[in-house]
Symmetry: C2
Subunit: 291 residues, 2 copies
């Protein structure tokens, strides 16, 4: 017997579900076609491919098009792109996650109140680029090695926000480093509840299983962090995007498998993973064990 | 040979020197006598004794007196005492350390701006009691075991200040714990530079000597923290108040002694300590080594 457990909090979060509903509505309600998303709507290539089949195309540059509807991705959009969109004839539908929008509002509020703005997150992640673009002079810190970046900041006040999908440990560790440089530090913990819940329940499950599979886009920041966090707990942790990546060798001598899916991973991929684990076990491993 | 080193930053800080000058002025300029201090002016019993000889008496309760001049201690004074003083006929001279006054101002500003106020410091230290008295509902956290105290706070915003003589490690550690409970945390690092400098140079010296002597009042919070910090580095660390506490046994097999004095320790005590170390070595230990 092989047992498969899925983390208590796993898969599509509120912001992703909302974006999927928005896209559905846009497709159904006969908005101006063609329909585009500015960058992939979420960081899940399989979902993006399914949307392509329905006529929703991810764009890298809005200058490539001059008609249709553009849906803004969950991660938010850099200010310069929003400004170009305003000047264009394109219809715009905003699917930015409300928690991301709130983080953007905090960035602006901090700057208005005289704080230097520091964003803790991945330098090149679209959410972080969009957060950074809200004000001039914001600095992004991804890890402790980048702390010297803040030396250019003048004044004694900094305000810190987080990419919504950071791990609380990285966030707190960097806040502590930043506290060495500034007398006044306003910390706005903009990590969303979905992130904390997914991380906590993945860690809890990783401690109880022989194999941990983290399922989600290889480009998904929150999925990558689930992997990093679980890898510390369970040596046999793998990050896979689809069921096809499960190898017979992964399951050898495994009795209990844990699955945790990123916030942008659809249920059907998780179900495929479960099915494939049982199939491989039944067809290839069950008999090995009996021998 | 025995070598004695004094930490680079050691002894009277700015606020203590200032208070001593104020007391001198008060004694000289013929203020209304008798002269009192509200509690010991600084946490150094020997200095307080010398002031008593000059007619400056520490008071516990201002209701015990009805004439003369009251000097407010470096640590600041609880609001209720200040209010009693205002209603009295006593002359009041304020020797509160300006860095402590600034921390008190921050406490009030935080409360005015809708923040729950948390003070990181010793529950029963006069500075902390005075800080806490500035506003209603402020909570004091001394260490991680007290974190449950903050559960009674309502709302999502807390502002944190520190007793000016805390160690940055304890402060940062508690800030991290508090961050688990609140989305918005405004951290005002009110630890004064003199504290950081004394702690850093004591730690640096402790790493280089065979024996570390921390010199200062047994009731002095900042001296106690120098002891705690150095004890982690140098096994042979002792907290002494005066030269009399140096024992021959402490110096046995010691070649290098480090001295760090608290912010309220006068130079003459440090000099006595140096002299006594050399005297004990010369008279009692030098010959032991030759044998």
């Amino acid at each position: 017997m092989i047992r498969v457990y899925v983390a208590k909090h796993s898969g599509f979060c509120f912001g992703v579900k909302r974006a999927m509903n928005i896209i559905d509505d846009v497709a159904k309600k006969g908005k101006k076609k063609p329909i585009y998303t500015l960058g992939p709507i979420i960081h899940n290539p399989q979902t993006v491919d399914k949307l392509k089949e329905r006529g929703v195309t991810p764009l890298e540059d809005i200058n490539d098009i001059n008609e249709g509807t553009v849906v803004l991705r969950t991660h938010g959009v850099e200010k310069r792109f929003l400004e170009s969109l305003k000047r264009s004839n394109l219809d715009v539908i905003d699917a930015t996650c409300p928690f991301v929008s709130r983080a953007q509002d905090y960035v602006k509020k901090l700057k208005e109140n005289g704080y230097n703005v520091i964003i803790i997150g991945e330098n090149n992640h679209p959410e972080v680029l969009a957060l950074k673009s809200q004000v001039s002079g914001a600095i992004v810190i991804e890890n402790g090695d980048e702390i010297s970046k803040i030396k250019s900041l003048k004044g004694s006040k900094v305000g810190i926000v987080s990419q919504t999908t950071q791990s609380i440990e990285n966030f707190k560790g960097l806040v502590c480093l930043i506290m060495d440089y500034f007398k006044e530090v306003l910390v706005i913990n903009t990590i969303c509840n979905a992130t904390s819940q997914r991380q906590e329940s993945a860690i809890a499950l990783a401690g109880k299983v022989d194999l941990m599979l983290i399922v989600g886009g290889k480009n998904s920041g929150n999925t990558k962090r689930l992997y990093t966090l679980c890898k510390r707990i369970a040596k046999h942790t793998h990050h896979i995007e689809t069921a096809k990546e499960i190898k017979k060798s992964m399951l050898r001598n495994v009795k209990n498998v844990g699955i945790a899916a990123g916030a942008s991973t659809p249920d059907w991929i998780v179900n495929d993973v479960k099915t494939n684990i049982k199939k491989i076990y039944k067809e290839e491993l069950k008999n090995d064990r009996k021998r």
